[in-house]
C-alpha cells in the first residue's frame, strides 16, 4: 500500500511519521492552523486544524497520516466550526486590531478575515491581564496572548532557552516568564531569538515601534493566510521582503 492519503478527495503523498498537517502543507493544501509551525513540536491546542477522518473530528497537526486515510478539510461545516473558534479567541482576549502594531501582520486577524468573521459574536470577556514592559527591547502584552505556546516551544527548541511557560488552567491560563521575578526583563530572551518573533498575534512585540509597514504592504495585505510559508514582514520596514 502506497503512502498516500486523501484530503477532500485529493490524493497526496506522505512520509512515515508525518502528520496530516505536515503532508498537506507539503502538498500545498491549506488546513487552517494557529498553534502550529513547521519545525516545532506540534501542540494541538487551538483546534483550528480540526478535520474529519471517517466522521471523527481530529487535530490535523497532531494526528499521524495513515495510508488511505480520507480527510475532510474544506467543508462548510468545518469552516463554520473554525470561524466560531476564532471568534472565541477574539472575545477571550483584548484584541483591538486598530490599535495594535501587529495589525496586518497578525495570524489571528488574518484567520478572522479568512473565515469571513464580521464580529466577535460572543460577548467579550475584557480580561485584565498584565503588560510586561520590563524588557528593554520587547513588550509582553498578555491581553493578546492566545496561549498557542509557539513562544514556549521556540524558546526551548530553537533558542535553547526556556523563557516562557503557560501557567493555570482554563480561563485563568496565562503565559508566564520563567524567572524568579516573573519579569521578561530578567530573562535571557534577546531580540534576535526566534521566540521574540514567533508570536502569531501581538502579544510579544518589539518595543518603541509603531505601524512601520504602511497599509497595503503588510503581510496579509499581500498574502493570504492560506498560502503556505508566508514570510511575515514583521514590524521593521527594512525587513520587507517584497520591496
Amino acid at each position: 500500500m502506497s503512502n498516500t492519503l486523501f484530503i477532500d478527495g485529493q490524493e497526496i503523498p506522505f512520509a512515515p511519521g508525518q502528520t496530516i498537517m505536515d503532508a498537506s502543507l507539503e502538498a500545498g493544501i491549506y488546513i487552517p492552523h494557529l498553534c502550529h509551525k513547521p519545525g516545532l513540536t506540534p501542540h494541538g491546542s487551538c483546534k483550528l486544524c480540526t478535520v474529519e477522518v471517517d466522521g471523527r473530528s481530529v487535530s490535523a497537526c497532531t494526528l499521524p497520516a495513515a495510508a488511505g486515510m480520507k480527510v475532510d478539510n474544506n467543508t462548510p461545516a468545518l469552516q463554520e466550526v473554525r470561524k466560531t473558534l476564532v471568534q472565541m479567541l477574539f472575545v477571550e482576549g483584548n484584541h483591538l486590531c486598530p490599535t495594535c502594531s501587529k495589525t496586518g501582520d497578525c495570524t489571528l486577524q488574518a484567520l478572522g478575515y479568512h473565515f469571513g468573521m464580521l464580529d466577535g459574536h460572543f460577548p467579550p470577556f475584557y480580561p485584565r491581564r498584565e503588560v510586561d514592559a520590563s524588557h528593554p527591547d520587547l513588550v509582553l502584552d498578555r491581553d493578546r496572548c492566545v496561549l498557542c505556546e509557539l513562544c514556549v516551544r521556540a524558546s526551548r527548541e530553537q533558542d535553547g532557552k526556556n523563557v516562557f511557560a503557560i501557567s493555570g488552567r482554563g480561563a485563568s491560563a496565562h503565559i508566564i516568564v520563567n524567572t524568579s521575578s516573573g519579569k521578561l526583563g530578567d530573562s535571557d530572551l534577546t531580540l534576535d531569538d526566534a521566540a521574540a518573533h514567533i508570536c502569531p498575534v501581538g502579544a510579544i512585540l518589539p518595543k518603541n515601534h509603531g505601524c512601520e509597514v504602511p497599509f497595503g504592504r503588510r503581510t496579509f495585505d499581500l498574502h493570504s493566510v492560506a498560502e503556505s510559508d508566508v514570510a511575515h514582514v514583521g514590524l521593521q520596514k527594512t525587513e520587507h521582503h517584497d520591496e
Binding site: 486598530p98 495594535c100 503588560v131 518603541n208 515601534h209 509603531g210 505601524c211 504602511p214 497599509f215
Partner: protein, 489 residues
C-alpha cells in the same frame, strides 16, 4: 431626572440632530420663564484617559483614531506629535513634516466640507425653519445640485489625500515615532494634482457663498453671537498655522493675553474646571480666571487671531472677512461658517503648494532621539486647538494622559450661545419648532464633535420637554426621523 435649583424649570432637548454624536440641551428657567442658564450635555469619551493607562506609548497614535469618526487624523497627528517628544525628537525630516502637513490639510478640508455642505448648508439654503424632511444634503442635491455635488467632491478629495498618505480613507496609519511610515510616490502625487485646480475653485465658490449669505442676512449677525476671548495657534510670523506653531490668546477687543506661547506649557496657561452636571470640563485661560477666562477655538478664532494667511486666495478672503467688522474681530457666531470655508480654501491652496514641493516625495522619513518622560502634542484640528498630553514610565508605558479636545474648549461658548438664542425664541413653556431649529443652528455653528466617537450624519429624533420644578412634564414635543412634529401631551 436631574435635580435643579428649586425655582427653576427644565426644558430638555435630546438629542440635538445633525451634530456629530449625541447631545442634549437643558434650559433652566427662572420664575419669569427667562432662560437663566443653558446646559448642553455632551457625551464625551473620557474613558480614554483611563483606558490608555498602562499601554505602550507606541499604540497611542492608533488608539486615538477611534475617538472620532470625523477627525481621526487630527487625533492621530496630535498624539504622534506627543510621541515624537517621548522618543526625543523635536524636529522631523522636511519630508515627514510636509507629509504630516499634507494629510492634516486633507483632513481639515474634508471635515470642513462635510460640515458645511452636509450639515449646515441645508439650513442656509432652505431657511432655518423650512421643512425638515427636505432640509438635508439630499434636498441640497435635489434643489442645488451644483452646490451639493461640489460638497461631495470636496470631501472626497480630502479623503483621497488622506488615503494616499495613510493607506486608508479612515483609520489608516501614517505617523510613527519620529516620522512617517510611507513616502508619497510620484504617481500618487500626480494623481492628487489632477483635480486640485477644481478643488481650489470650488473652495473659492464656497467662500463666496458663505460670504454672500452672511452679508445678505443682517438678521444673522447677532444670532447666538458672543463677544469672547479667542485661542488658536499661529506661525512664527503670526500667520494662520494648523499643524505646528505657538499659541495665541486674545481678548474680544484683540488685545493680547499671550502670544507665541510654547504649548508644552499649556498647563500653566489653561486650567479645566469641573462642573457637577457635565462630564465635559470647562477650560479657561488662567491669566483671566475662571469666571471670564473661557474662550472660543476653531475657524472663527483662528481667522480672527491670525495676522495673515500664507496662501493668496485665502488671504484675500480673510481680508474681506476682517473688513466686514471694520478690522475688529468678527464675533458673529454664524460667521464660523464663513471662516470655516476660508480655511477650507487655505487647505486646498496649501495642498497644491505641498504637492509641487520637491520634498514631498522624499524618502528620508524618520529621525530618532533619546527617550523622555512625557510628550505634549498640539495641533489645530478642524474644530479648534487639540491638546494631547502623555506621561510615560521608564518602561515606556503610559502613566497619565490628558486630552483637551476642541469641542471642550468651546463648551462654555456653546452654552452661552444656546442661552442667547433660547431667550430670543422661547415663548413661555411653548417649545415651538422654530425654537428647536434655532437652537440646533446655534450649536451647529461650532461644529461640535459631541462624542468624538459616534458619527451621526442623518436626522435624529429630537425631543423637548418642559418640566416644572416639581418634575411635572408640562409639555413635550418630539420630532421624529421624518421631521414630523407630534405633541405628546
Amino acid at each position: 431626572m436631574e435635580h435643579t435649583a428649586s425655582n427653576t424649570r427644565r426644558i430638555a432637548i435630546d438629542p440635538v440632530s445633525r451634530v456629530e454624536g449625541h447631545g442634549k440641551i437643558t434650559l433652566l428657567l427662572d420664575a419669569d420663564n427667562h432662560v437663566q442658564e443653558a446646559r448642553l450635555h455632551i457625551v464625551e469619551f473620557r474613558g480614554f484617559e483611563k483606558f490608555i493607562q498602562g499601554r505602550p506609548y507606541t499604540e497611542v497614535p492608533y488608539f486615538v483614531q477611534r475617538l472620532c469618526g470625523i477627525c481621526p487624523v487630527s487625533h492621530h497627528l496630535a498624539a504622534a506629535k506627543a510621541v515624537d517628544q517621548i522618543v526625543g525628537v523635536d524636529e522631523l525630516t522636511p519630508t515627514a513634516t510636509k507629509l504630516r502637513r499634507l494629510i492634516h490639510f486633507g483632513q481639515v478640508l474634508q471635515s470642513h466640507a462635510l460640515h458645511f455642505f452636509h450639515l449646515s448648508s441645508p439650513d442656509f439654503l432652505f431657511g432655518f425653519g423650512s421643512n425638515l424632511a427636505h432640509r438635508n444634503i439630499v434636498g441640497v442635491l435635489e434643489d442645488y445640485p451644483d452646490i451639493g455635488l461640489k460638497g461631495v467632491k470636496l470631501r472626497k478629495y480630502g479623503q483621497q489625500v488622506i488615503a494616499a498618505i495613510a493607506g486608508k480613507r479612515i483609520h489608516g496609519a501614517a505617523a510613527i515615532p519620529g516620522g512617517m511610515n510611507k513616502a508619497l510616490s510620484d504617481d500618487e502625487r500626480k494623481a492628487l494634482l489632477v483635480d486640485i485646480a477644481d478643488i481650489i475653485r470650488w473652495s473659492q465658490d464656497a467662500v463666496t457663498l458663505n460670504e454672500t449669505i452672511h452679508l445678505q442676512h443682517p438678521e444673522n449677525h447677532a444670532f447666538a453671537t458672543l463677544s469672547t476671548n479667542y485661542l488658536g495657534m499661529v506661525g512664527a510670523q503670526g500667520e494662520l498655522e494648523l499643524y505646528h506653531g505657538g499659541l495665541r490668546a486674545r481678548r474680544a477687543d484683540g488685545s493680547d493675553i499671550f502670544d507665541q506661547f510654547d504649548y508644552r506649557d499649556y498647563g500653566s496657561a489653561i486650567r479645566e474646571e469641573v462642573r457637577n452636571w457635565s462630564y465635559m470640563k470647562f477650560p479657561y485661560l488662567t491669566a483671566i480666571g475662571k469666571d471670564n477666562g473661557w474662550y472660543r477655538v476653531g475657524p472663527l478664532a483662528r481667522v480672527n487671531l491670525c495676522d495673515s494667511i500664507p496662501t493668496p486666495l485665502a488671504e484675500a478672503a480673510r481680508v474681506r472677512f476682517r473688513a466686514f467688522a471694520g478690522g475688529a474681530y468678527v464675533h458673529d457666531t454664524l460667521a464660523f461658517h464663513w471662516a470655516r470655508m476660508i480655511e477650507m480654501l487655505h487647505c486646498a491652496e496649501a495642498i497644491q503648494e505641498l504637492l509641487n514641493d520637491p520634498d514631498i516625495t522624499g524618502t528620508d522619513l524618520v529621525v530618532t532621539g533619546a527617550k523622555r518622560a512625557q510628550g505634549i502634542g498640539v495641533i489645530e484640528a478642524p474644530r479648534g486647538t487639540l491638546f494631547h498630553h502623555y506621561q510615560v514610565n521608564e518602561q515606556g508605558l503610559i502613566e497619565k494622559a490628558n486630552l483637551i479636545v476642541s469641542t471642550t474648549s468651546n463648551n462654555q461658548a456653546m452654552n452661552e450661545s444656546v442661552r442667547s438664542v433660547a431667550n430670543q425664541y422661547l415663548d413661555g413653556h411653548e417649545i415651538t419648532e422654530g425654537l428647536l431649529n434655532h437652537l440646533e443652528v446655534a450649536v451647529r455653528a461650532y461644529d461640535p464633535c459631541l462624542s468624538c466617537a459616534t458619527h451621526a450624519l442623518g436626522k435624529m429624533p429630537l425631543q423637548v420637554e418642559v418640566v416644572s420644578a416639581t418634575g411635572e412634564v408640562l409639555n413635550r414635543v418630539s420630532k421624529n426621523m421624518d421631521g414630523v412634529v407630534e405633541c405628546a401631551l
